[in-house]
Amino acid sequence: MIKVKNLNAGYGKLQILFDVNAKIEKGKITTVVGPNGSGKSTFLKTLFGLTKIYSGEIIFKDKDIAKVPPHKKARMKIAYLPQTNNVFANLTVEENLKIAGYVLNKDKVKERIEIALNVFPELKDILKRKAGTLSGGQRQFLAMGMALVRDAEVLMLDEPTAQLSPKLAEVIFEKIIEMRDNFGLTILLVEQNAKRALEISDNGYMFVSGRVAFEGTAEELLNHEKFKEYSLGITAI
């Protein structure tokens, strides 16, 4: 679905990603793990066009979309859920959901909001509240709900389960599986809840210092040395 070739990207003059090559397969879940600051979020942002690309290609449906502006990507049915600042704090929950369906027509939006609210019934009681007053977790599932409203083919999720209770985190993982299995969505997932994420994924990538340190199936990654190093701590002050 998406093919990344020799991607070099960063913020202004600061290069973060170095020669990244990756393949996000259609209808599969691809999970990216890695230490903090290794460039996972930057990778997603770059795919969506929110950073500076120095060189490389991003092939989507046989087209290089490296230079397509983000709001147009949203229209190409690519959805992206940022890690931080992922809701509009001054808008109400309802307005947030509505605006998530900005590129859809009215009826479609209604329908999608319906779907999102069924997945996150907790949102129903707080529709009129400003998103800025929500608890951390509530905010997170509002953001997820917004991703659902978008009706995308490709879903890029940056730590969707952070700050969620174990129960809700599990709900999210199940939804992700469901979206792949029932709707055929292509999903690119970044998670620090790495073990669980890889358990449900097809493919796995590991980033270290802005480079791809591992590429393979999720299972391979789970059993790899590098993964163990990353998930068990050893250092101390």
Partner: protein
């Protein structure tokens, strides 16, 4: 009489404050050039009057368009800065620079116009051109009508349409707005155009009340800001409430103070309105529309 004047004055402040609030809500830029936008409108209205003999009321649509162009040009001037992620303060200072440019343009234009018309056009009013209805001044009706129309329109636009939500969304978090497919560029452009257009209209009506000189924009900007802020910068109805608070305290309250404590007080209209604004803000730190009424109700019911 005194009430009529106060209402008209407040209406005009509301109009000016509306534009300010609008760009603030949608682009986060406190626009110091808002006053001068209006004055551009005033001079265009004057031109229409002097050269084509068109009453300022009738030229309101033209002013709407001219104001929109001024808004557009300002936005284009600010765009490189917004693109480079300039801070709010930088943008605000940039609008100051634009205000200065507008002052220069207006001044130069007033000279050119004077040369064409054959008399000094640096200073003018339309008050004498006004009609009167039921013993009230025409401007009272026109300004009230325009405000009602604009408020309803803006309210529907900002709070009831998808595009309105998009406007507010793109101000708050442009990059997130892009991820949902909003063309942030377009929304910004639109709100500057609209804000300029509102100022253009205000500019056509202002001379019915007060004298216009090239620097008038700079003189009234404080009252505009005061109105916009005391009502609450985050909501368009703030401009309405704020305009009335400032307008009424500048005329009505000042008048009553003067009749109680001596006519010397009459010059302190601006001071009194500023003080009332400060007090209002100290009581309601986020402006009147920022008050949490539920909380107030609870407080009242418990005490």
């Amino acid at each position: 009489m005194i009430l009529e004047g106060a209402i008209i004055y407040s209406n005009l402040l509301v109009l000016l404050a509306l534009g300010l609030t609008l760009t603030y809500i949608t682009t986060n830029v406190p626009n110091f050039a808002q006053g001068s936008y209006a004055i551009v409108g005033s001079y265009v209205a004057l031109t229409m009057l002097k050269l084509f003999d068109i009453s300022p009321y009738l030229s309101l649509p033209v002013l709407f368009v001219v104001g929109a162009v001024v808004g557009l040009v300002t936005y284009l001037a600010l765009k490189p800065l917004i693109k480079r992620g300039a801070s709010v303060e930088i943008l605000m200072i940039a609008t100051l620079a634009i205000d200065l440019i507008l002052l220069g343009v207006i001044g130069a234009y007033s000279e050119i116009l004077s040369a064409i018309v054959g008399s000094t056009q640096a200073k003018f009013v339309f008050a004498n051109l006004d009609f009167s209805l039921f013993g009230f001044k025409g401007i009272l009706f026109v300004s009230t009508f325009v405000i009602i129309l604009l408020l309803i329109g803006l309210y529907l636009l900002l709070y009831k349409t998808k595009f309105g939500i998009a406007l507010r969304a793109s101000m708050e978090n442009p990059s997130l707005a892009q991820t949902v497919g909003i063309d942030v560029e377009k929304t910004r452009l639109f709100s500057w155009i609209l804000s300029g257009a509102l100022a253009g209209i205000a500019g056509g009506l202002l001379p019915f009340m007060q004298e216009i000189v090239p620097a008038t924009g700079g003189l009234i900007i404080i009252s505009i800001f005061a109105a916009s802020i005391v009502g609450g910068l985050r909501h368009i109805s703030g401009a309405l409430i704020g305009g009335y608070i400032i307008g009424v305290s500048e005329s009505l309250i000042t008048y009553y103070l003067a009749s109680a404590f001596g006519t010397g007080f009459l010059v302190y209209g601006k001071v009194i309105s500023l003080i009332i604004m400060i007090i209002t803000l100290l009581v309601t730190p986020y402006g009147i529309t920022g008050v949490d009424w539920k909380k107030v109700k609870k407080m009242l019911s418990t005490s």
